[in-house]
């Protein structure tokens, strides 16, 4: 079964009397172990697609299935649980918790929904940090890390709960060329190495080569043949 399946998804925002169609009848399938690059101009609906796929927003109409589970009509509580267990996010502005160390930022996803931070979780966080080249930086606060290191911690956090789908928003936007390449190398290695599916939203043409395929979205609709 595919990692993500969007069926005729439509998302409409209402502002006063006006309606803005952010996603217009989008159907998309992301296969297991597939790393898909999503590109498009500003305001084209990339972020909305990401939020719908990540169970952060409900579509106005259409269906969303992640890992075979239909999440279209889940309530807020169940959506939160679903995100915690099945989805990993790497945000554009990294969004690490500023007063937690790198290791604690990885463990943060284990603190919700009645989960506990046990020895196994700590070992996994250490292992992820090692894999990400941050073995000696686990006790550093985000303010003590470089931009690239923060991005790597964010990748580790997204992978901490073994998600079936990782959503990555503009991973290289705040990094210089060399650092951006390093981060993308790392991201692809970690995602492909785990057999996880991913959608990477980007404006950066240099990122396109890292995906298994590239999908373009314009005015809320996928270009023909993208599905």
């Amino acid at each position: 079964m595919p990692a993500l399946q969007l069926d005729n998804v439509r998302k409409v925002y209402r502002t006063g009397d006006q309606q803005v169609v952010a996603l217009n009848d989008v159907s998309l399938t992301v296969q297991n172990d597939e790393m898909m690059i999503l590109v498009g101009p500003s305001g084209s609906g990339k972020t909305t697609l990401l939020t719908v796929a990540g169970a952060l927003l409900r579509p106005t109409s259409g269906g969303v299935r992640v890992g075979g589970a239909d999440i279209t009509d889940l309530d807020d509580k169940r959506l939160a649980g679903f995100r915690r267990e099945e989805v990993g996010f790497v945000f554009q502005s990294v969004n690490l918790v500023p007063f937690l160390t790198a290791k604690e930022n990885l463990l943060v996803v284990r603190q919700f929904g009645g989960s506990r931070i046990d020895t196994q979780a700590r070992k996994r966080a250490d292992q992820l940090l090692d894999e990400l080249g941050l073995g000696g930086r686990g006790s550093s606060l985000p303010s003590q890390l470089s931009g690239g290191e923060k991005q790597r911690v964010a990748i580790g956090r997204a992978l901490m709960n073994d998600p079936s789908l990782v959503l990555v928003d503009e991973p290289t936007s705040a990094l210089d060329s060399a650092l951006g390449q390093q981060v993308m190398d790392l991201l692809r290695r970690e995602i492909k190495g785990r057999g996880v599916s991913a959608i990477v939203v980007t404006h950066d043409d240099r990122v396109l080569d890292y995906g298994d395929r590239t999908v373009r979205i314009v005015d809320g609709a996928l270009e023909t043949g993208a599905q």
Binding site: T47, L56, R84, F89, F112
Partner: protein
Amino acid sequence: MSIAMKELIRRPGRFVSVGGALTMLVVLLVVLGGFLDGLELNSTGPYRAHEGRLLVFSDGSELLIQRSKVDAGQAEQLTSSDGVAAVGALNQIESTAGAGQGEIVDIVLFGYDLPTDAIPSPPVDGGVIVDEALADRNDVAVGDTLLIGAESEPVAVAGIVGDLSQGSPTVWLSTQRWREIVQSGNPAALPPEGTDQALVVEPSAGTEISDLAASLGGLDGIAVVTPDEAIKALPVVQQQSSTFEGIIGVTFVVTLLVVALFFTLITLERVHLYAVLKALGARTGNLMAGISAQAVGVSLVALILGLGLSLAFVGLLPADLPVRLVPARLLQTAVGVVMSALLGSLFTLRRVLHVDPAEAIG
């Protein structure tokens, strides 16, 4: 340790303002409570001296000893009742005592028959028992002579007991000697022979005080109450309690509002962080638990600091100011502050509930 508590420990500077305000409010609450308890204890010593006994007043006296008159027949009825070991008289009059080098102080002069845990049997030689309030402030010792009332009746001090003030220090002597002194100095205030203002009932061994009060309560013309009930009926206690408890209640509300305002503001600052945490799977309940934990944590630190400052402050006050720090009141203050902080933190619920996890992206 939760995320919220880590923030509290690693970023204490963020909480200095609310912690400082709460500390000052704790000091205010402790000192106000200290004054309330001090004033109440200062007004009710003779009643507290009769813990474990029952007090008997006439019906219609509103449990006020100066309005009450109980006759010998009623005393006899009580004496012959089941569960009663002894019945004794209790009379009082406001008077003066000459102590030291001609210094005259206001006192309350009590005539009594039965000893209690706080006062020994009345001296048989006409001497008096004085309380610590008189002894300490006026340098009175056992063997000294006091001059009581308008006629300056000389009495020897036979013993000193703990502070049993009733607004003024108290002096205790036998009912017979009390009647002699009142007769000579203020005969109009003397109850008729065979009549006393109030009676004290000593229960027999094994008798429950509440059961005895209930069984004696059926007798005509009298009201039988515990000392606590008599204290609550005192107008001075009622007025002090309502005034101070009103101020203390308002202070708790201010505490709640301070916490509510602080955490509402800090929640506005944290909207993006909360959106990220929600995106990562946190529920509103997780975030609210964190906010409440921080509010309780800050209030506990403020309690410790506030209590320390209060002790130092009370220690600096003049000794004759009626401030007493009673453990039960301190516990009540502590629980009240923590509960106010907890309730105050819940004011953020609406804002946290509306944090949209989608704000974490874009």
